[in-house]
């Protein structure tokens, strides 16, 4: 009996320590990023670094404003493309899909989530870029196809599985009575879904969108392959753009000294963006659960 109680206590301790791992990881990431990034920022000047419109490492000019704007634009584009399609597809999966084809379609969305971002990037490079190039020329905007629009479309595709999967499961978590009650009161199938079930699944859906935002803003390889990566202010949706993530990967390979630290500082800015997004979600969820 005694040894059993001891085992119980010991394993409880093991579980507790395991639970601490994620806290430790976040702490370490914060410490190491900030310790390496902040000094460079203060050397360059916080304002010059964040709002400077020139990125010329050769002349020791480090302004990442174009990249900040670039990241925000592509993410917004991805949301415009991906969120409506994603949520509607989730509704289809949960409420419209005929039983016989549900399984293959579910597998398909899981597959979509499993496709590596390099493969998406490659697909964008060989398929989307030529299409957008042609479209840009036909519409008289020019550009060589590697553009903000291409990156937005590709990212929109990439966040689909995240949004579909999470939205669908939160739709399914809503008690069936909600739907039945609405239909019993005379609502159509659609009205019951979009006015009763979807609002009830709000927090899950918002979480899905935010995860999508996170994936879009942090996506690196796919964006590098299709966005053109010019380190200048965006000049239209058919023109090239560079994101924060691309900035790091492209130049880290050969950067030294202040340049290298400026790239780490770019990572810090990205990290702060993510922290702000997470904080908003935490607030939203908290308010949601209190209601």
């Amino acid at each position: 009996m005694k040894s059993k109680a001891w085992t119980e206590k010991f394993m409880r301790g093991v579980f507790f320590i395991a639970a601490c791992a994620s806290v430790l990881a976040v702490a370490l990431i914060c410490v190491f990023l900030f310790a390496n990034g902040i000094p460079a920022m203060s050397e360059i000047g916080f304002l010059d670094f964040l709002t400077g419109k020139m990125w010329k490492p050769n002349n020791d000019i480090y302004g990442i404003f174009p990249m900040i704007v670039g990241s925000l634009y592509v993410t917004a584009g991805a949301i415009i493309v991906g969120v409506p399609i994603g949520i509607l597809t989730a509704v289809f999966m949960a409420f419209y899909c005929p039983k016989q084809i549900y399984k293959p379609l579910k597998t398909a969305t899981e597959l979509l989530a499993g496709i590596p971002s390099v493969v998406y990037g490659f697909f964008g490079l060989v398929v989307l870029v030529p299409i957008i190039r042609q479209l840009g020329r036909d519409l008289g905007f020019g550009g060589n196809g590697s553009s903000m629009l291409t990156a937005s479309l590709l990212l929109g595709m990439m966040i689909l599985p995240t949004i579909i999967g999470l939205t669908e499961s939160s739709l399914r978590a809503v008690p069936t009575q909600y739907y039945e009650g609405a239909v019993a009161l005379g609502a159509t199938h659609e009205r019951a879904i979009f006015r009763v079930v979807l609002p009830a699944a709000k927090s899950g859906t918002i979480a899905a969108i935010v995860l999508g935002v996170g994936r879009a803003i942090g996506e690196t390889m796919a964006v590098i392959m299709v966005a053109g990566n010019q380190a200048r202010m965006p000049q239209g949706i058919f023109r090239g753009i560079r994101t924060l993530t691309a900035n790091i990967v492209i130049e880290m390979g050969y950067a030294t000294d202040l340049h290298r630290e400026a790239l780490i500082a770019t990572g810090v800015v990205l990290f702060v963006f993510i922290l702000i997004i997470n904080f908003c979600v935490a607030l939203l969820n908290r308010r949601d659960s209190r209601e």
Binding site: F15, V91, P116, V118, V183, L270
Partner: protein, 297 residues
């Protein structure tokens, strides 16, 4: 299964033919528009997926030549075999670290922690944070911590540790959800029969949560196999089979990125993309089968 589509339940109550359905839609045009939008969205999603896969298969399969699979990488054959082996090692190592931590911490959160515990809230916040962190930030951190501070250099080990932190929240989250989905009556039944907490967790709760946990692990494998940004500056881009976990090696995804961005080996890049896709499909199918078998047993 309470999660079965609610529409099927509703259908049982008032069976309608397609004609009646269409007729009722003409009376509510708003609903019809919404229905059509839903259908359109679903068609777009699945058309995109089918097109993507078909395009890569059609263009890549013809280039799957034996030279692609030779054990030595050279600038002539652009072999993907070393990268493939690296990917397997990397996946195994990362899971070895992340899966125990993920499952154990989820057990703590669901089974042990008291409701409203402040520490639980902290953990939840940090997992959410980890989940949102882009892979390139993990890459930067891995470079600063494992590569430089720990002094491991560009190595498989540094890459695996970086990836294991990256997939930890994924495994934690899915295990948590799976554990929560286990009805409390299971636990009560187990306690009622005299089982202790630990026995209840390992013999009753965990086995019924296996499919959910596996789903998380599958997602994790998918992320590891497809990861590039977190690996370029932690595991490096050497295109050979590593002699130990301390040597640098590129995984298949990194290999693929290098081929595509160099632009010299486009045919091989298509073929590599095929292998990556097949790998992902294979993993998903396999674990689907395993999950099903385990639930039956």
């Amino acid at each position: 299964m309470s999660s079965k589509s609610s529409s099927t339940q509703a259908k049982g109550v008032n069976e309608v033919t397609l004609g009646q359905k269409l007729k009722s839609y003409t009376r509510t045009p708003g609903s019809m528009v919404v229905m059509l939008l839903v259908m359109l969205a679903a068609v777009i999603t699945f058309a995109v997926l089918i097109f993507l896969i078909a395009y890569i298969l059609v263009n890549g399969v013809p280039y799957l030549q034996p030279s692609l699979f030779s054990l030595e990488y050279s600038s002539e054959n652009a072999s993907l075999m070393p990268a493939l082996i690296n990917t397997v090692i990397m996946t195994a190592l990362s899971l070895l670290i992340a899966v125990p931590f993920g499952i154990f911490s989820a057990i703590f959160l669901v089974e042990y922690a008291k409701r409203g515990n402040k520490f639980v809230e902290v953990i939840r916040l940090t997992t959410e944070t980890l989940q949102g962190i882009p892979s390139i930030v993990y890459g930067l951190f891995g470079m600063l911590f494992f590569v430089t501070t720990c002094g491991w250099g560009f190595s498989i080990l540094a890459g695996a540790f970086t990836l294991s932190i990256m997939v930890l929240p994924l495994i934690m989250r899915s295990t948590e959800e799976a554990l929560k989905a286990v009805p409390d009556s299971y636990r009560e039944g187990s306690f009622g029969l005299g089982a202790g907490k630990l026995r209840t967790v390992f013999r009753i709760v965990l086995p019924s949560a296996v499919p959910g946990i596996l789903a998380g692990v599958i997602l994790a494998i998918g992320r590891i196999v497809g990861e590039t940004a977190a690996l370029i500056y932690t595991a490096g881009t050497v295109a050979d089979i590593p002699s130990s976990v301390m040597s640098s090696g590129r995984t298949l995804a990194v290999h693929m990125y290098n081929l595509a961005s160099e632009g010299l080996y486009m045919d091989q890049a298509y073929a590599t993309a095929v292998i990556l896709l097949v790998l992902v499909v294979g993993i998903n199918t396999l674990s689907g089968v395993v999950a099903k078998r385990l639930t039956k047993a």
